[in-house]
Point group: C2
Chain length 271, copies 2
């Protein structure tokens, strides 16, 4: 297995990490770090490799999310984290779009500078319990009432894993609204190419010099590969054994967890 991805390690300059399911498992009380991950992040930074985090997390503002990770012991700062809400805000402003928000309450402050009056689009994030029938129906009515409905989705994940089990992710409700209105959503966040490219550009690293490590085969691994990066899937978080038999997406390597991935990378670095 190692042989499959160690070739790209020689020229490796940057690492992109998913957060939820790789660094920690989310859940009641904020979640818990995955064993070895706190140390693994420190070792990547100590090695001189550049490091950025790409998350589709939209259940909190980036500030609060990063503060939570710091309390768990992770060496991480806000400017190293790429998340969909700030990227969506830029798109909204650039195109004069006024969103109706179907998101988690805690992420609403990310949209504080955006005009939300008389909405001409819908932004859907991982709203979790806010995905009530009433709230989803309200978003639907905004969309169906528009001449040209615009739906912006903060990711397209199917589900994620919390400490108490699997939870439906934003992509499921994106699909629901797409079908209801017979439209196609614009996805911000993984697996959108532009999202990975922003992180690469910020590191000043070319795709072939970078590796992505994530627990989501389609959005992390597939998205990064589409972008020209190598990508490993960890067997933590939402990983399921069936992922390794996926008909179209194949990771460059499968590792038990982030610690094992970092072991492999540091062993072959600059060989």
């Amino acid at each position: 297995m190692m042989a499959e991805w160690k070739d790209c390690i020689k020229n490796l300059k940057g690492v992109v990490l998913d957060i939820c399911g790789v660094l920690y498992d989310s859940g009641e009380g904020g979640g818990v770090p995955i064993p070895g991950s706190v140390e693994a992040v420190k070792r990547i930074k100590a090695s001189g490799l550049k490091l950025r985090f790409c998350t589709n997390e939209t259940q909190a503002t980036r500030d609060k999310f990063v503060a939570k990770l710091q309390r768990m012991g992770f060496d991480i700062s806000v400017n190293e984290v790429f998340s969909p809400a700030p990227a969506a805000c830029k798109i909204l402003k650039d195109r004069g779009l006024r969103p109706h928000l179907l998101v988690y309450d805690e992420v609403v402050p990310e949209f504080i500078d955006v005009d939300k009056s008389n909405p001409n689009c819908v932004v859907v994030g991982d709203a979790a319990d806010n995905f009530s029938y009433k709230n989803v129906n309200e978003a639907f009515r905004v969309l169906i009432g528009l001449e040209k409905p615009v739906l912006i989705s903060l990711g397209r994940g199917r589900y994620y894993k919390e400490t108490d089990g699997l939870k439906l992710d934003v992509g499921v409700y994106m699909k629901a609204l797409e079908y209801a209105c017979d439209i196609e959503a614009e996805v911000v966040g993984k697996p959108a190419k532009m999202f990975f490219q922003s992180a690469l550009a910020d590191m000043g690293v070319e795709p072939h010099q970078a590796i992505m490590i994530g627990d989501d085969l389609v959005n992390d691994v597939g998205g990064a590969q589409q972008c020209g990066m190598k990508a490993l899937q960890v067997r933590t978080g939402k990983y399921r054994p069936n992922d390794e038999k996926h008909p179209t997406v194949k990771a460059d390597g499968y590792v038990n967890n982030l610690a094992e991935a970092v072991d492999g990378i540091l062993k072959h670095l600059g060989e």
Copy 2:
């Protein structure tokens, strides 16, 4: 316009009517009849044409639903109504499937004779307010935990119209669960061919001798046409002007309401 569909009227033997949006508009307090519809049903029956009702209604048992329509003045009886829940029960029993139900509380009694212990499939109906995040997630967890997930959907409608506005229909949540689990649902009810065929067989009428009248272009009109019937769309209920420019489904005629459709039919009958 009349010329397009009157040819089939000469040999007409049976009429299939959708209920919600054709006979009445649902909503708070049970809904209200669409003007002229009570009389129109009487006129079809008086003409000697056979008549059945095909509804994807799954917010009440068939008994209660029919009783409500009778109180509104409609000449309708339970054995004239084809609805998805009884059809689904037959499939469940035939295949030894034990459902986890994601349906409206009032329709649960339809499944009283079905074993619901240790579920090995999910049945989704128009659950309306029961489509909470918690309930949808629970159905998802049942499906994703099965070796071979089976999802049975009572219809595939996008939305319907109640007196207070448009409401998301079962198809939207069917799509959500399909995407979450990467599976395809089995649809019982319109537009499934077998559903229309049951109504035709019950009347003893061939498809080319029957006409369907509905407000849903894809599920009523498209479904009936797939089955070899002619079909009219009424401009009541969930009808939207854009329906008349639909890229793939074209009704054999568009009429303002059921009363106008029956006027046209009776005028040309046996010409």
